[in-house]
Subunit: 434 residues, 2 copies
């Protein structure tokens, strides 16, 4: 059996991780694929730095096109990240009949349609296991393992940095800024960690998961995003008193004619398996009509887990080449999409339960005024905590609501601003039960 | 594209579930496979009972060979369970070049070698996603998603019935017999649930997972088994006081030259993600050298989840047929095994931490006598709870040990029987930290 030859573009953390897996686990890879997988070329602007693993210098080039145009390369692995160059290289590789493996979630969430269609037109495989959930084989599970199901619901903890921050805020009662500083120092967060904490990274990944579930590319801009940077330790603590954990959750809920697609901090009941996903771990909770609730859990980032995912894709392509057949799996795992288009439900039509923390003057009648405004907007209170603890000169009034409509909540909160018994911004966190 | 035609042997719970998925989600299956999947024949001794879903009577036959010998059937789905007949049908189907899908864990754990080799010789696919973890796509994850990894460690909650029983014992403090009675009444357990509670079912599944991890068939009889039927609510409660949950765990730990393979009740730290798997749910925790710790969670049994798994296998075969290639994946996902043979570590060479509950007379010097015997066998105590609570006329002395050797523990426990300060059987539960 002739070996399968691989070219890597981008020799940073993930590229070096994939190369390390292919080198150190060469024997395992060969025994499981049935033929050798050989790295033929590696392109990177930096061909000098030590990547912590021996590399034959002759493999290295600064020209991505050296990889793409190498006639012996079967699989091009794009690991440079970013949009324009990555897109260009991927399309150029497909044009030359190369199979493509990528970890580039931003690119797929923003230009996925063009790339998916190109792969199908060129009859090549597109692997992107590493784009969502790091080492967790969630793409493969969605494309194959759960293939017989209509997916009703996806809830994911898709960003390890923000999950680390929230875990530390919960365990230590520390404020956001202090935890971010610590996370940057420990290498768990970039400085500043903007795309991680503002929900963009999780939304990229959610866009990809929805696209596979429905067979239709969904783009980032259709997904509602809210970050974790305004969360306070007080709210995390109150959530705990109500029996919930606060997580940055990416949610897609399929209502048949329309789809909820949103990323925001949410309170999850503590006995839900997702609430027990802590530190830098990721998890994806998927509910299908036959399989029921499933959870996939693991490390969502890092050289080794992401390297594992990239190599699993390369091995999949290699097995397929070895079988001699044509590409068995379109990128989104659908030969026809399940719908013509995806209609995303506008955020103000969402129905959810809510947590509110009001900062109020400590005087009689405050709760009745708040309840009055809520009641006028059809929002009914499920549970209240009112304690003497003063925060910044006012007293917190904390409550959970029954299901209410987002538009009503927004109107009620706007109207609250006129209540002179409230002394500050009202905190709102959505509560997810399933 | 010509449709892919399927024959089902065994139209019980799982068979009807698979048929229901193929019927009700026909449009989803077609859009994801790119061609129709049609059930051509169904064999069962009972062709009259209502399965809760409309079936064309012309599909039904009482003769399994009608399915196997139908020249139009591409995939034979064996769902009768049991050993002899199932084996015969599967081998006969492979002889005729049919791909095979089965949910039969007992058969694979007992006669796997013959069946795996036959599939390879005949060049057909063998799918058995439904044999482990019900709807959880753990077989696919092991064969493909984690393919680049050396698997160090597998820890599974693989039997939903026993997990349900332990969950109820934990939550309600109820005795084993009472919970079993309830589980039988609610349909969560068979009457009697012998193979579920004695560890055999979990050991079947563990044998299959180990076989895939190493590429070598491992058989049931090599796996140590201990059931949950002697657990008491007292021990579950004490475990909780030490910060642990009691679970029936299937463990495979790869030491390179030898392998631990065992199924028994174990105490798991409450903050471990596995400790939060409750009710009838299953979960498999897998640690690979690159991917790190992963967890797969879902419903481990039942018509719908198992139907989902069976149909995912059928869809995999259909996609492969459509691609026109030869079978891309050997049953155990290895073209060559990673080792010549698997050497299972004898149980008495295990090193573990232990929980003991001694039933002792309430008099001075008891703890020192117990500690003396333990010390003489190189077993050092980590933590002790000694309380006045009387159980059956004696006082419990409860402790956790540091790591000790199983053979020493067995010797110490035997020697304890001579201590006249002890009034009854000493309970021992192994403690697993990773």
């Amino acid at each position: 059996m002739r070996p399968v030859e691989v070219g890597i573009i981008g020799f940073g953390t993930v590229g070096a991780g994939a190369f390390e897996v292919l080198t150190r686990n060469r024997e395992i890879v060969r025994s499981r694929v049935g033929s050798e997988i050989i790295v033929k070329r590696i392109a990177d602007l930096d061909v000098d730095s030590d990547r912590g693993i021996p590399v034959d210098r002759a493999l290295l080039t600064t020209e991505a096109m050296d990889v793409i145009e190498d006639p012996e390369v079967d699989v091009v692995v794009e690991l440079i990240g970013g949009l324009d160059k990555a897109r260009e290289y991927i399309l150029a590789a497909m044009d030359r009949g190369k199979h493509v493996v990528t970890a580039n979630k931003a690119l797929l969430a923003e230009c996925g349609k063009e790339i998916y269609e190109k792969a199908e037109r060129c009859g090549v495989s597109l692997g992107f296991e590493a784009s969502v959930g790091g080492g967790i084989p969630i793409i493969r599970c969605m494309r194959e393992g759960l293939a017989a199901n209509r997916i009703h619901n996806i809830m994911g903890i898709l960003n390890g940095t923000s999950n680390y921050i929230l875990t530390r805020m919960t365990e230590k009662g520390l404020p956001y800024d202090q935890v971010v500083e610590e996370a940057v120092r420990l290498g768990f967060a970039e400085d500043p960690p903007t795309l991680d904490v503002d929900g963009t990274d999780a939304a990229h990944k959610l866009a990809i998961l929805i696209s596979i579930a429905l067979g239709i590319p969904v783009s980032l801009k259709e997904i509602y995003r809210e970050g974790i940077d305004s969360l306070t330790p007080e709210d995390v603590l109150f959530a705990g008193e109500f029996g919930y954990s606060v997580k940055l959750i990416a949610i897609a809920r399929n209502h048949g004619d329309r789809l909820e697609a949103r990323v925001h901090p949410a309170m999850i009941p503590r006995d839900h398996i997702l609430a027990n996903v802590n530190e830098v771990f990721n998890a994806i909770y998927v509910d299908g009509d036959y399989v029921g609730p499933n959870l996939y859990y693991g490390l969502g980032a890092g050289r080794k887990p992401t390297g594992s995912a990239v190599v699993s894709d390369i091995m999949g392509v290699a097995r397929q080449i070895r079988s001699g057949g044509k590409t068995a799996m379109p990128p989104l795992a659908h030969f026809q999409a399940l719908k013509d288009r995806v209609t995303i439900q506008p955020m103000n039509e969402l129905t959810s339960c809510y947590y509110f923390r009001f900062s109020a003057l400590d005087r009689p009648g405050v709760l009745s005024q708040i309840a009055g405004v809520l009641g006028a907007h059809d929002i009914s209170i499920y549970s209240v905590i009112q304690k003497g603890r003063e925060i910044d000169g006012s007293v917190p009034v904390v409550m959970l609501t029954h299901e209410a409509r987002e538009s009503n909540v927004q109107k009620a909160l706007a109207q609250m601003e006129d209540l002179n018994v409230l002394t500050g911004r009202t905190v709102m966190i959505r509560v997810e039960h399933e």
